[in-house]
């Protein structure tokens, strides 16, 4: 696994695209800025929906109204995040692919993306799904707390890539 990643990182580092991203000084900060703006969308959407599920934000509106308003933004932003993130990886493959903070970030991303889909999906057929029973309400609250924790953890891990050494 590690040696495969090493091989991929070495191959990427030797590509012309990688050289361009490295050598044109404005590309990395610009791509990182777009990346952070999309993180802002994801973080805020997840905070507003989670705080509603926890009963802190906009209690007058049903959960489904909030997920309908805010969760689609997460998926659109995630597409841009994957593109900008890939560009950053191509530019500095060793710094990211071989970095434990990056691995942790991707793991948390997989979990939280699944959780978000799991929260969103039943609401299309039944808007009151998460309010139908005490157990479901508790489950939704658990997902909300986990989502807040994991997305915040993703932001932290993203910044720590710059500080944690590659293996």
């Amino acid at each position: 696994m590690l040696s495969t990643l090493h091989a991929i990182a070495d191959w990427l580092a030797a590509t012309e695209a990688s050289a361009v991203i490295q050598n044109v000084s404005w590309i990395i900060p610009t791509v990182q800025t777009i990346h952070i703006v999309c993180v802002a969308i994801v973080i805020s959407a997840t905070f507003l929906v989670s705080l509603r599920v926890l009963g802190v934000f906009d209690r007058a509106q049903p959960i489904a109204a909030l997920t309908h308003r805010f969760l689609p933004w997460i998926w659109y932003a995630l597409v841009v995040l994957l593109i900008t993130g890939s560009l950053l990886i191509i530019g500095e493959p060793g710094r990211s692919l071989m970095n434990p903070a990056f691995g942790l970030k991707m793991l948390m991303l997989l979990i939280v993306a699944s959780l978000t889909a799991f929260l969103q999906r039943p609401l299309t057929a039944d808007a009151g799904f998460w309010d139908a029973s005490t157990q479901r309400r508790a489950l939704a609250r658990g997902i909300a707390v986990l989502s807040l924790t994991l997305w915040s953890g993703i932001v932290f891990a993203g910044r720590w890539i710059a500080y944690v050494g590659s293996v």
Binding site: S44, F47, V155, Y163
Partner: protein
């Protein structure tokens, strides 16, 4: 005068602690990024409503009352962590062009918000539930979202240009 003040800030115990502890800066920076993404994203919810692009079925005053407390809490955290990072290397930050631009845009965001709340917002009762808000409100929303994206951009540029 200013340089002496910056040097004094640089010599405070807080700044010393941040420089002496290798983990302090990444922690402050991570919290700062998390807070600033929440500031930008939450204020964009209001800005996009003013622009008539999102949340158009929600009354403007309700949305502002619900969302802005989150923005302010996040802003306070961004200010505290940003201030601590600034203190740790005050002279270099103060002389860094992207940092100066970031502060200028922050001032602009503040003035834009002040004008909106003191002048434009006074007539909110007339357009609270309207999809299209008055031109002045749309301008305030447009300026705000662009300025905050600029603040993020210059903030990121500091990391690439600051000398230690």
């Amino acid at each position: 005068m200013l340089q002496e003040l910056l040097q004094e800030l640089h010599d405070t115990p807080l700044a010393d602690t941040i420089r002496a502890n290798a983990l302090a800066f990444p922690w402050l920076e991570s919290i700062h990024v998390l807070a600033i993404t929440l500031v930008l994203g939450s204020i964009a919810v209001v800005d996009l409503r003013l622009l008539g692009l999102a949340s158009v079925n929600r009354p403007v005053s309700t949305l502002i009352r619900q969302v802005l407390p989150i923005t302010w809490i996040a802003f306070a955290i961004a200010l505290a962590t940003g201030g601590a990072m600034f203190a740790s290397n005050a002279v270099a930050y103060a002389n860094n062009l992207p940092f100066q631009m970031k502060m200028l845009l922050l001032l602009l965001a503040g003035l834009n918000m002040l004008f909106f709340h003191l002048v434009t917002y006074r007539s909110v009762a007339h357009w609270n539930e309207a999809r299209q808000t008055p031109l002045a409100a749309r301008c305030a929303g447009g300026v705000s979202v662009l300025v905050w994206i600029g603040i993020v951009a210059f903030g990121r540029w500091i990391g690439f240009t600051i000398g230690f």
